[in-house]
Amino acid sequence: MTSFVSLLSRDMRLAFRAGGGAMLALAFFASVAALVPLGIGPDLRLLARIAGGVLWIATVLAGLLSLDRLFQADYEDGSLDLIALSPMPLEAASFAKIAAHWLTTGLPLTLLSPVLALMYGMPARGFAPLIASLLIGTPAVSAIGAVGASLTLSIRRGGLILPLIVLPLLAPAVIFGAGAVIGALDNLPNGALPLLAAFSFAALLLSPFAAAAAVRLNIGS
């Protein structure tokens, strides 16, 4: 347990310090959200309607952008070998890294999202589902992203393959997340949030095993 906590806090400190990129993911998230109105025009009615979907897509992209530091830096400087050699199971280490990624990316993005939704003119009834869906759904982004990051660990230009692998797998999160917001805007109750929670829970449960297996095969030999 202590090694789990220390790995978690180490990863978080690394993410927030110079070169960590946690803040960069936030800035990327905001700039994607700012670019969309430039592309489709400043019609607030349209923007209010698509705010949930745009913010969800920006969240997934920002999550992807920061994935390469999840295992890559530790792989390059050799600390991943030490983590693998430690008595803590690699599955637990993967889970700690996923948690650290979520705390430094998913959670800040969730906290920033209401501000951007406000700029999109989203009606008040959409805010609670938006925040809830991001809070519930972003762990799945970190978890499934970790599988992709660990699979592409030994590839020199892994960052180019990572989105192709991860994005189709994240389609359910985007669908349920944005669907929860749209449902609330239309005053139609739909089961998006429970479905998103189920997806996220399953992803969190299974991903550490897949990520650990992938890390093992990449550091072995």
């Binding site: 599988v147 030994s154 393959i161 692998i165 189709p168 797998l169 669908i175 399953a202 992938a214 990449n218």
Partner: protein, 236 residues
């Protein structure tokens, strides 16, 4: 099954089978096409209904290919068997090809039926995502140089994809009914008439046999390529 998993024995056994499989595939595709062109036009869809005979079997084959690929990958990962790795690797481009074929023929069918080349219908969208899954799998194979390492990494991806695929299917289905509930057009007629059923069945058989023919040929090529590489390495 594992008795034939030795690459040498696989080459010996599969060699004579290939021409027979290829002939059977050609015959049933020929019969299917003939029946398809001589079938009467549909009372609603007219002649465009004939696209079904090349579209629906392509979609079936594409899904079967993913299942076989993931199964081979899992066997390769669990039993550490090189032939299973080769089978998974060679199934992927075929699956991607059949997926693309299903998407293209679906698009050609969609234009006269729905009035648009592309509709964000649940099945079309999930097939597009299936194509991306295939492409990601192929890209990962090509990116990792070491063959055993590539085989294991892609096997993990194939299994993760196989677990996620039903969820993607379900979510896309949920999504398109959420927005607007059309696209029932394809499920239109209550029961498919037997004049359409026979050519469809013949084409489905033909596509399946074609897939297995190409798959076996690709596996054989890959085994021979690896053997050639090993010989070159030995000579160098």
């Amino acid at each position: 099954m594992f008795a034939y998993a030795n690459p040498k024995r696989f080459l010996d056994v599969s060699g004579p089978i290939v021409p027979w499989l290829a002939t059977a595939s050609a015959v049933s595709l020929g019969v299917g096409l003939y029946l398809g062109f001589t079938a009467p036009p549909d009372y609603q869809q007219g002649d465009t209904v004939r696209i079904m005979f090349i579209h629906v079997p392509a979609a079936w084959t594409a899904m079967m290919a993913y299942a076989l690929m993931a199964l081979s990958a899992a066997i390769g990962l669990i039993n550490r068997h090189p032939l299973a790795d080769v089978a998974a690797k060679t199934a992927a481009p075929l699956g991607a090809l059949f997926t693309a074929l299903a998407l293209i023929t679906g698009s050609l069918w969609g234009k006269p039926m729905w009035g648009a080349w592309w509709v964000w219908d649940a099945r079309l969208t999930s097939f597009l995502l299936l194509l991306f899954l295939y492409l990601g799998y192929i890209a990962l194979w090509n990116a990792i140089e070491d063959e055993t390492r590539a085989a294991r990494a892609t096997a993990i991806l194939a299994i993760v994809g196989a677990v996620n695929l039903p969820i993607i299917e379900f979510s896309v289905e949920w999504w398109s009914t959420l927005h607007q509930g059309e696209s029932i057009l394809r499920k239109g007629g209550p029961l498919i008439a037997s004049v359409f059923l026979w050519p469809l069945a013949a084409m489905a058989l033909g596509y399946t046999l074609l897939f297995f023919t190409l798959w076996i040929v690709r596996i054989r090529t890959e085994i021979l390529n690896r053997r050639l590489r090993a010989l070159q390495m030995g000579a160098a």
